[in-house]
């Protein structure tokens, strides 16, 4: 066990799984010689060679569609989109083939897409998005959004071992900023199980990705409240039972995500709580999210866009006062 960054944890998970399973290969733009735009796969091509760490042409459709074909032929592709924003270029492939082929024709598609996502560093409208809600609406896909180094490692391995298409969102703003103890050995963190990031009694925050850390800071700003923070870790499937159990206990819930509000996955969670924990609620389920705009470039605007600690703290206080 050693302290590692979120980025190192992903890198280590990938490397260990590639050593463990010869079927695993990586494909993406600039992942080989360059080691990836974020250097997650630095040194991989040296170790595994150019046919297991493939520098692909600038072709998101061919990369994702090609991964599907290779998966059907028995390999375990892990494709990187240079930024998760560019997954829009492979959208058709994902929803039309990867998501439906198992149900429709009995053909499982064990592929992983690595998707560096999220804002916080002035990346602008096309290098900062959080498109996980879009894909969480597509039956047949799995959507994973780790918040901690430990989970990031265990979940990337789980994603590769999973016999389904898994979208693995890596929050770029956590890459080097967040450190934590990470076991040295290969291990699997199950997909679909939430984690109680912080136990509490008064209010439940349901969140994932970088917002887990925002929630933690916000809770610390309101020490008079006992806040339970649920890190969903995966949003398709999502751990409804864990959320409902917590809300039944606290009777107040706040759903927090970095993606925009209308049609964001927070709506699904809030609706489900409203439907299945109706009698337990002492206040409306609140959502704290980005507003319905693209992601702005200017730091002052980006700060107004991404939910801040103060926004969450204010929502906690208002819920408490309800």
């Amino acid at each position: 066990m050693a302290e590692k960054t979120y980025l190192q944890a992903i890198s280590e998970g990938l490397r260990q799984q590639m050593r463990h399973d010869k079927r695993v290969f990586l494909i993406g733009e600039d992942i080989g010689v360059y080691g990836g735009a974020f250097k997650v796969t630095l040194g991989f091509q040296e170790e595994f060679g150019p046919w297991r760490v493939i520098d692909a042409p600038l072709s998101e459709t061919a990369i994702v569609g090609g991964s599907t074909g290779a998966a059907i032929m028995g390999l375990r592709p892990v494709a990187e989109m240079q930024f998760s924003d560019f997954v829009s270029c492979a959208y058709d492939h994902l929803v039309t083939i990867a998501a439906k082929q198992r149900w429709r024709a009995g053909t499982p598609i064990p592929i992983v897409l690595r998707l560096p996502s999220g804002g916080g560093f002035s990346g602008g409208p096309f290098h900062s998005q959080n498109p996980e809600s879009t894909f969480a609406h597509i039956p047949g896909l799995k959507v994973v959004c780790p918040a901690t180094p430990e989970d990031a490692k265990g979940l990337i391995i789980a994603a590769i071992e999973d016999p389904n298409p898994v979208l693995f969102f890596e929050h770029k703003h956590l890459y080097r900023r967040i450190k934590g103890e990470v076991p040295d050995e290969r291990y699997v963190t199950p997909i679909g199980e939430a984690r109680i990031h912080q136990a509490g009694e008064d209010i439940t925050i349901i969140t994932w990705g970088a917002m887990v850390h925002t929630a933690t800071e916000a809770a610390a700003e309101v020490p008079e409240l006992s806040v339970e923070i649920i890190d969903l870790r995966t949003i398709l499937p999502w751990d409804k039972e864990a959320v409902l159990a917590s809300v039944r206990k606290t009777s107040k819930a706040l759903v927090l995500h970095e993606d925009t509000r209308t049609g964001g996955f927070g709506g699904e969670i809030a609706a489900t709580i409203g439907e299945e924990a109706f009698e337990h609620l002492d206040a409306p389920v609140r959502r704290v999210t980005a507003p319905d705009t693209p992601v702005p470039f200017a730091p002052v605007l980006e700060k107004a866009f991404i939910p801040q600690v103060a926004d969450v703290a204010a929502a906690l206080r208002s819920l408490a006062a309800y």
Binding site: I72, G74, G140
Partner: protein
């Protein structure tokens, strides 16, 4: 300016024998073409009987191209045939009752009533079920070739697309990717001169679609799709080359879509003379004549094959109709695969 090679028709028996086809093979090809034609004709009857719901598509006129290419596929090769390529499924050996069961949305069809038409495949036969989005299967096909390259296997992947869907970006990304990586791919373009109601000159502006191969650094070949043996020869060459590490080939087979786009379409927009012209070179008829002239196929043999196929299809249809409807209680099953599911023939 055309850069593609225009393939000669197949002439003599000797040439064909040199390609490795013996008497039995030649009759087998004929049987596959007849079977394909008759399966699709049955489909029309089933549709008129109201037994096929939704829409219904055939590949009439394309039997030569489909069977010709599929005959050139090796046992361990794989393919992603589309809606005009029933002949590929037949040649690879799918049992016709399963196709009928699919048409009829039955529980025992390959997709268990979840999808219809020829949106099916049997992975034991090296085929992958198509989606409607054209030609989204092509990158998948390229991915199969990538797997062969990565594992250094002597296998080839065959991917189909149409003259219309040639306009989609997926084709470009697929061909570029395969060209750059010199993957063992045979790109099979079924040019049936129309894309629904849209004629070729509104779909592309080069002379032959096969000319595009040059843009990706490999060879393009145009071949008459009604000449099953010429198609076979070109596909075999391309497959051999791919297997030997020579990279992809684009084969464009040309023939006319002899029916409407689907059963609801009377194809009023196709000039009648064009239908007449291509009817005169019907691939089945053309091959029948060739067999009679070159290997002396007799009326007897012919009748034998036809009646064998008819009986097979009668039995198949009976079996398909006897299959139950899918159980609505199963609707939710299998959205996600289990680990056991990846133990399919494909995945091994």
């Amino acid at each position: 300016m055309t850069t593609a090679r225009v393939a000669e028709p197949v002439g003599s028996l000797q040439e064909v024998q040199e390609l490795g086809l013996d008497h039995e093979d030649l009759l087998g090809i004929y049987r596959n073409m007849v079977t394909t034609r008759l399966i699709e004709e049955r489909g029309h009857i089933l549709y008129r009987q109201g037994k096929i719901t939704g829409s219904y598509y055939t590949g009439r006129g394309n039997e030569g191209a489909a069977v010709g290419i599929a005959t050139a596929m090796g046992t361990h090769d794989v393919g992603t045939p589309l809606h005009r390529e029933c002949g590929v499924h037949v040649t690879r050996g799918i049992e016709p009752w399963r196709i009928f069961a699919q048409f009829l949305a039955k529980a025992d069809g390959p997709t268990h009533g979840r999808d219809g038409n020829i949106h099916l495949a049997d992975d034991r036969l090296g085929l992958i079920a198509m989606v409607s989005h054209l030609p989204a299967m092509l990158p998948v096909s390229v991915g199969c070739a990538l797997a062969f390259k990565i594992r250094d296997e002597r296998r080839v992947s065959f991917g189909w697309f149409g003259d219309g869907s040639a306009a989609r970006g997926d084709v470009h990304e697929s061909m570029n990717f395969a060209g750059v990586m010199r993957l063992p791919m045979v790109f099979c373009c079924t040019n049936n001169l129309w894309a629904y109601s849209t004629p070729s000159h509104l779909e592309y502006a080069c002379e032959h679609l096969a000319d595009r191969a040059a843009a990706y650094g490999f060879e393009g070949v145009v071949v008459d799709g009604t000449d099953v043996l010429a198609v076979y020869r070109e596909a075999k060459r391309a497959a051999d080359k791919a297997r030997d590490g020579g990279g992809p080939t684009l084969i464009e087979t040309v023939s006319l879509r002899m029916e409407g786009h689907a059963v609801h379409d009377d194809a009023f927009y196709v000039p009648k003379e064009l239908f007449d012209e291509w009817a005169a070179k019907d691939p089945l008829e053309r091959y029948r004549t060739w067999l009679r002239e070159n290997i002396g196929m007799t009326d007897e043999t012919e009748d034998e094959i036809t009646s064998h196929v008819k009986k097979l299809l009668n039995d198949s249809l009976e079996r398909a109709e006897a299959s139950p409807d899918p159980d609505p209680a199963t609707l939710l099953d299998g959205v996600y695969a289990t680990l056991a599911d990846v133990e399919t023939p494909h995945h091994k």
